[in-house]
């Protein structure tokens, strides 16, 4: 059964295609994906800057409850290593395990769709790569180093330490890193601007350490676009492992002319150079 998600190739592009091309090549080839990414990123920004902004009423409890159409922690809840590591560490059921289960079920049909479509850190990295790191080529490194399996080693370290009762997932898992980065960098600006700079609490060394980690995640894009997403992020290590149970995948038809473009352009290094089929653990169906 074919799953036609993407716009087919046209020798003479029509008006819609020409307009999409002005936005960019990825918008022209898979506009649905870029649209979903934009929407999810916008939802994350609204949840963080609007819903979680506690001011506006002195009845704080009711004010927050009224704004929370979806839970403010939604993105954190759908991040599987968050709920898995805390469930292992605390030896108990946490309710976000149900959310993680739901997103994994969705990713049966869209393997690693979280990484390509939903993850706001991925969208931020895409924005950063498009605006900044694409323009500097001198730091590029090759694709076949030891680091390409780093995400599995990190995930193992996180789970083993959770087994010992120490939670390290907050340091390296995608959505906590993103939320904390926004909280320590952008939240003070929002508070100072909208309410007053005297209300911003002082920062300690821990703040700067977290900011440095967040910047490091973004700056990895100078090595390769989406370096974090491809090689380091433990969240997509979980999804990559879950790809073993996928229900769909990208298939190569017999009309392939072996031009190599797909293998070179793939943002997740998921296409084998020999026969252009997928490295199934890596494809995000972008």
């Amino acid at each position: 059964m074919r799953l036609d998600l993407f716009l087919a190739y046209q020798k003479k592009p029509d008006a819609l295609r020409r307009w999409l091309k002005t936005l960019g090549p990825t918008w022209a080839s898979s506009p649905v994906r870029r649209l979903i990414q934009a929407v999810c990123f916008l939802i994350f920004l609204i949840l963080f800057f609007y819903v979680c902004w506690p001011y506006g009423s002195h009845d704080y409890a009711r004010h927050l409850a009224a704004k929370e159409r979806i839970p403010a922690e939604s993105f954190l809840a759908i991040d599987p290593p968050v709920s898995l590591s805390t469930a292992i560490a605390a030896r108990t059921w946490v309710f976000s395990l149900a959310w993680a289960g739901a997103i994994l079920a969705v990713c049966l049909v869209f393997p690693r769709g979280f990484c390509g479509y939903i993850c706001p850190l991925g969208s931020l990295i895409d924005l950063f790569d498009w605006s900044l790191s694409r323009r500097a080529q001198r730091f590029r490194i090759r694709q076949d180093g030891w680091w390409i399996h780093l995400k599995y080693y990190l995930l193992t370290a996180v789970f083993i330490s959770s087994g010992f009762g120490i939670l390290l997932s907050g340091f390296v898992v995608a959505i906590p890193v993103l939320t904390r980065g926004f909280q320590f960098v952008l939240s003070p600006i929002q508070m100072g601007w909208l309410k007053g700079w005297y209300l911003v609490p002082p920062a300690n060394a821990g703040h700067f350490f977290s900011i440095a980690l967040f910047l490091a995640v973004l700056l990895l894009g100078f090595f390769r676009p989406r370096f974090w997403c491809r090689y380091v992020c433990p969240t997509e290590a979980v999804f990559s492992i879950f790809n073993l149970f996928r229900a769909t995948e990208r298939k190569v038809e017999s009309s392939c002319i072996h031009c190599d473009k797909c293998a070179r352009i793939c943002p997740f290094d998921a296409i084998k150079p020999t026969d252009y089929t997928n490295c199934t653990a890596d494809c995000t169906l972008c």
Binding site: A90, G165, I166, I175, H258
Partner: protein, 267 residues
């Protein structure tokens, strides 16, 4: 027949079992090292509705959401001074601000329920810590000047957990108390205090920062055994009612006769 062009696509790197085992061992060693190195000697004051400290450290993912939704910025991330295991976990900094009585935001945004989502009535009786007055430095206790800011703040918040006690009362030549003498000094009612920290904020901001009368706040919130309640499940309101009824049982029963206070030969 397809044309085979030279390929620029990436070669496949094999998965390294050695690095995987290194990752596993590294995770274990790091965990044990962190556990041994971080033991905070002073109990950290945690947000209201937090679960027990061991579970808290295993459920808190250090994401930062609770800092964002806290309207007074009472909750601030602990730094390296509290140990690596407490890094970025929320602690109550009562010198900065006190916990708002009409707010239960922090529990609402927790993906792993390290802080339980409590309804507002429950949150108002969930003890985070206990306010302890330093009777050496507190201005009325030290007979320096009158001050009742902590009492006012606590009453304004609706907790009514600090009372006045008259101290330093002088007697005249007939051993009668001079009504205008002495100071009204604060006394914390430990069964009503929830450790919100509003009193500490006031004392710190005015007496220390503004008037420079003190070097350190005279009323401070302390956590630890006996000063806080951390329920994994169940109602804080029911817990408070249980504690109050137990306290009533311990009180000696009232004597029936009105002269029970007299010694036997005068009855």
């Amino acid at each position: 027949m397809a044309l085979k062009l030279p390929s620029n696509a990436p070669p496949v790197v094999p998965f390294s079992r050695r690095k995987l085992i290194a990752g596993a061992i590294g995770g274990g060693v790091l965990a044990e090292g962190i556990r041994f190195s971080s033991s905070s000697s002073v109990a950290i004051v945690r947000p209201p509705g937090s679960v027990h400290e061991d579970d808290f450290l295993r459920l808190c993912i250090r994401c930062g959401e609770c800092f964002k939704v806290c309207p007074n910025n009472v909750l601030q991330p602990a730094g390296f001074d509290k140990g690596f295991n407490n890094l970025w976990t929320p602690q109550v900094i009562a010198n900065w601000s006190g916990c708002e009585p009409s707010c239960n935001n922090c529990g609402q945004v927790y993906p792993t329920a390290a802080i339980r989502p409590l309804p507002i009535e429950e949150k108002r009786v969930a003890r985070m810590g206990l306010a302890i007055v330093n009777e050496q430095t507190c201005l009325p206790h030290a007979r320096r000047e009158t001050c009742q800011m902590c009492v006012d703040e606590c009453n304004a918040a609706g907790y009514n957990a600090i009372e006045f006690r008259r101290i330093g009362v002088r007697l005249d030549e007939n051993a009668n108390t001079i009504e205008t003498s002495g100071f009204f000094a604060p006394v914390v009612l430990s069964d009503k205090c929830v450790g919100c920290g509003l009193c500490q904020t006031r004392c710190h901001m005015i007496n220390v920062k503004q008037k420079h009368l003190l070097g350190r706040t005279a009323i401070e919130i302390f956590a630890g055994e006996g000063r806080e309640n951390r329920l994994r499940s169940g109602s804080y309101v029911a817990l408070r009612q249980r504690r109050q009824s137990e306290r009533l049982k311990i009180k000696p029963p009232q004597t029936q006769s009105g002269d029970g206070y007299l010694p036997d030969f005068l009855k």
